[in-house]
Every structure is written in structure tokens, then in C-alpha cells.
Amino acid sequence: MKKLLALLTMLALFTAGCTNEQKPVEPAAKATAQPAAAKQIKAGFIYVGPVGDAGWTWSHDQGRIEMEKAAYVAPSTYIESVPEGAESARVINGLVQKGHNLIFTTSFGYMDATLDVASKNKDVIFMHCSGYKSAENVGTYFGRMYEPRYLSGIIAGKMTKTNSIGYVAAFPIPEVIRGINAFTLGVRSVNPQAVVKVVWTQTWFDPGVERDAADSLLDVGADVLTMHQDAPATLQAAEARNAYVIGYNSDNRKFAPNAFLTAPIWNWGSIYTKTAEEVQNGTWKTAQIWSGMKEDLVQLAPLSEKVPAAVKQLVEEKRKAIVAGSLHPFSGPLKDQTGKEAVAAGVTLDDGALLGMNWFVEGVQGTIPQ
């Protein structure tokens, strides 16, 4: 017992001796130290997953780090794994209380909370990713991920031997459905026999569930997988079973060195730097930004050497056409899952129809809960 006491005393002394000078961040003091002309951008980010997810959140964090390179941007703050819904309002408010003047909320489920906090803090600028509500001090931003998805579909259509492609998908919301449709249109543009099988996981980030979904698709004969998920589990499943895989979010080829073909990826840094600059200049105005490959917000990761040169060339041609505006994946004629004409020839779906997309194109095997 005495020994134990002595040990505890030592530990306590050790603890006392180890205190260091690290203090909570006090941005208010920093802001006053700056001359009024050089307004410091103190940005805060709310992430839905952990920064180490190697996917969605990681790609946003890369964008945050890139934004910090600008001289007028002070070290920024992020909060990871924030639950969506009402819970997030408290965390967003916490960033406001700590003196952040530009706040990015990077998941759809933060929409109401962002607007709620924004309505009470008019001097702070908010940017909400992927939603449809904006306000005087709330802008929205998102990318036309369907463009690189379409291109990646071309590769999948060329690489499949079983004509069966698996798609591990998070939630049946328009963003995900749009991606599945664009991908399938890419597949069918080069391989009309191929089908895309969809499994819903009802989660953005759950490596175990995603892995099970990927395995189930491989079990029913899919030889190319792709996903709309934040964890790299689908890549690992494909690697383990010698299938091909198309990633998402970031260039995550290190998880599947042999199976990886390419990935539609985000380049958030471009939009974060631009927004910080506008806020700094005082030129920021609320807007609903929806940028594509042309603005470099979305990209296709470099193709692996497994992709034949002819396919690489085809993808490059189509990429140029999309950037030039001469190719739109959702140009008619398009048929829906039942084979009925959904978009007439000569018609291109407008942004409203794309943002609310709630039907599958021909070639998709799966259902959308109605």
C-alpha cells in the first residue's frame, strides 16, 4: 500500500511538472493585434467524419490546408465527426463563439443548423456544402461530381468482363443517385450489355458495413466495383478478391495498388481559397455555387497503368468535351430503369432536375425507396 502511495505521489509530481504553456486558442486577441486593413480570415470547418477517413473529410481537410497558404488566412480550426442534425448547431455556434468569421459546414445534414446559427450571427459568413438553402450570410457550394463519375463509368464499362459492375452507395439521396446514373451512362456508352448493381449502406462512413456490401457485390459476380462512401473498405474488398475498383473522394490508390483504376475526386482547395479571398476583399456575396471539371473543383484521378492506352485516349477526349461544354452526361435520349423514355432526344436535364434527381437510368439494378 505504501509503495502504491509513493508511486501515486510520484505520478502526481510528474503531472504537475509537465504542465506546458499551451493555452486555448484565443483568436480575439490575435484579431485586435492586426491592422484593420488586413482583415484576418479565421476559418472554421465542421466535418462529418474523422480527418483520417481517407475520403470525404480528408479531401475537405486537404482543401483547408491549401487555403491556409494564403497570407491573410490565420490558422484555421476543424471539428471532426460532428453528428448531423440538431447536435451540430452547438458545435457551429462554438466556432462562432471562438471568433471564427468564415465557417464551412461540409455535410448536407448541417443545413438547418447552419442557417439557424447564421440567422443569429449576421457578421459571420457561412458556407454550407451540398444543401439547397441559402441566406444573406450563407452561401452553398458543391461540385458536379457526375462529370468525372461519367468518365469513370467509361473505364468500368471497358474493363468489366462479366458485364456486372457493383456500386456501394451510401444513402438514396439525389447527390448519390445522380452519381450512380452518370456512372451508368458512362458504362453503357461503351458497353450497352453491362449492368450496375447498387447496394445501399445507409451510412457515409462505416468500414465494416461498406466492406460487407462490397463483398456481397463481388459474390454476385461483379468484377469492377465503385462506391459513394467515405471509407476505403470497398477498395480493400476489391484488392482482396482481384477485382478492379474505382475509388471516390480522394486519390486513394494506396489502399488497392493492384485493383485501383481511377477515382472521381474533389479539389476543395480551389473553392476554399477563392471564398477566403472574397471575404478578405469584401466582395463575397451569397451564391449557390455548383462547379464542375471546368472550374477544377472535381477531377478524375490519374488512370492506373491497368487501363489500356486506347481507353485512356477515349476518356481524355470525353473529358475535353465535358470541359468544353459539348458533352453533357444527362443529354437525351435517356431511358429510365423500366425502359421508358425519361429524357427526350435533344433535351438536356437542367440543374433543378439534376439537384432533385430521384430515378435510375436504364442499366441500374437497384431500387430507390419511394
Binding site: 503531472t15 509537465c18 504542465t19 506546458n20 499551451q22 493555452k23 486555448p24 486558442v25 474523422p50 480527418v51 480550426t77 476543424y78 471539428i79 471532426e80 465527426s81 453528428p83 448531423e84 442534425g85 440538431a86 447536435e87 448547431a89 452547438r90 458545435v91 455556434n93 462554438g94 466556432l95 463563439q97 471562438k98 448536407f108 445534414g109 438547418d112 443569429k120 439547397y132 444513402f171 438514396p172 439521396i173 439525389p174 445507409q202 439537384l355 432533385g356 434527381m357 430521384n358 425507396p369 419511394q370
Partner: protein
Amino acid sequence: MSLQFRVEKREQGSALFRTLATSASVLGALFVAGFLLLSAGVNPAAAYMEILREALGSTYGISETLVKATPLIITGLAVSVAFRMQIWNIGAEGQIYMGACGATWVALFSGLEAPLILPAMFAAAFVAGGLWASVAGLLRARWQVNEVIVTLLMNYIAILLADYLIYGPWKNPDGYNFPLTAQFSDAARLSEYFNTRLHSGFFLALFCALAVYLLMERTIWGYQIKAIGSNQAAARYAGMKTGLAIFLVLTLSGAIAGVAGFSEVAGLQHRLQHGLSPGYGYTAIIIAWLARRSALGVIIVSLLMGILLVGGDSLQLSWQLPVAFAYAFQGLILFFLLASDFFINFRLRRVKEDADA
């Protein structure tokens, strides 16, 4: 000489002893967590002050702590009512969702208006949560089906059912096909106070605590529940209808949990959406256990839990520590609290080798 210990039941200690043991366990957890913080280069004392400041240092912090405690109090009460009878309701999570569905149906589709709509939402949530739990109650009372399994598995059904409604028939027609119901009208929202998110659900939670206390301590039925809980055979011999009591207790437990769903949608979310509860129904089990099934205890433990959850954010906000720190911190505190619970009820006695074999 080998060390051998025997676990012995302890006489129920005094309230002072229990309080001391609980406080010591929290300090122990803070001590261990301090080393984690040190390893990350953060002064533990400053971090703990920051947690308290975040949760209690401002009107806003206090209001958020109370907002967080609200669903925990109500579900904690729900679970503790059943625990009284040694019935384990692991299904509060699903019952919250069912209650929320009931309240949402009234809010969006009943056509009722103020002042009737809020009481009707409350009633619908109460009934929906109760009906959901009554399935487990019936199976347990009639056929001795283990209620732990039934209530637990029914959570998944309830959450998927809510998802089905959100993605399907209840989806907001003006919501670009996003999986959200329409927002409630002002008449279907609980009042908020002090320009914060503190809503009358908190007072509803306190009222629930009072009601549960009176029911359990001041009525014959409450006495019967305790009697059946401590010895079912004896209670039956004394003429109590144990089957009926089991059925009613589980139903009541579910109904109270349903009220938490009402409070969350009407007070905070103002619509039904995926992820309504981040596991309140499971946290409630820990709360009921630590509160030793007492209504006042549930309030106290829920408030402490609220401080922990709200203050935990500050670790990320102020030091950019990974979210895993908040989880580890909460886990350590729970671990030590449960350990202290063991030592409150039992003692370890050294067994001498030369004692009779």
C-alpha cells in the same frame, strides 16, 4: 505466497460513502485521462477548466447542457422504471424514434392547430412508444421471451421504419428529394427560452421525473413493481399479477421513452430526419444504472453527462485534439463510475492460504 481474493457482498453503504466513492472514481478517471492529455501536449488542468467553462461558463453553455440533458433524463427515467422490476428495456432508442414518428405524424398530417396540436403530439408519442415496447412486454409476460433481445432488435426495426418514412411517404415535397420531412409549423414547436435552444422539453423532463417518483414511491402499483422486482415468486404468492405487471411496466417504459422523441422533434429538430438520436437510448441504460433507478439520481447523472458531452467539444475546439480524445475521455469516466459501483456493492477480502481448504 500467492494472493487470493474473495468477492463479498457489502452491506448497503451510507449515502456519504456512496457519494465519496463516486466522486473518487470521477477523480480517478480525470487522473488517468490527464496522462492522455499530457501525451498530446495539453495541460490537463487547463483542459478540465475549459470543459467546465464550455458547459457551464455562460448562459449559452448552460442552456446547451440542459438541452443535451433533456432526452437523457426522459429516457433515463424510462429505462429506470423497468429496471425497478429487473426488466431490462434496451429498446429506448427505438422507442424514441417511434415517439418521434408519432409526434411527427400529428404535426404534419393531422390538420390539428394550436392549442390542441402539441398535446396531441405528446399523446401520439406516448402511445407510439408504449405500443412499440408493449410487443416486448407481451412476449415476455405471455411466453417468457427474453425482453433484452426483443427490445434491442426492435431498435433496428424502429430506426429503419423512421428512415422509410423519411425517405418515402413523409419526404418533404418541396425538399428537392432530400430525405427530410417538412418543418413543423410554429404551433407544433415547443417554446424556447432566453434566446437559446433551451425548450420546454426540459421542464417536461423534470415533470416526468416527478411523475415517475410519485408513481414509484407513493402508489401501491409502484410498491408492487419493486416487490416483483426483488422476488417474483414471493410476489406471485402474495397474489400479485406478475405477468400483467411486466406487460404494463414495459409499456410504460416505452411510452416515457416515446416522450423523449416528442421532445426532440418538437423542441429541437422541428422535423423528422435521419440520426434523430445519437444513441440516447443506450446512454440511458448507463444513466439508469448509475442513478440506482432513482428519479432524482437520473436527473443528476443526466446533467453530469450533459456537461461531459457538451464540454467534450471544447477539447477539439480549443486544442484541435482528435475526436477520439472526447470518446476516450467519456469512456474512462464511465468505466471508473461502473467500477466504483462494483466496489460500493462488494468488497474484496484477502483469502489466507492457511485458511481451511
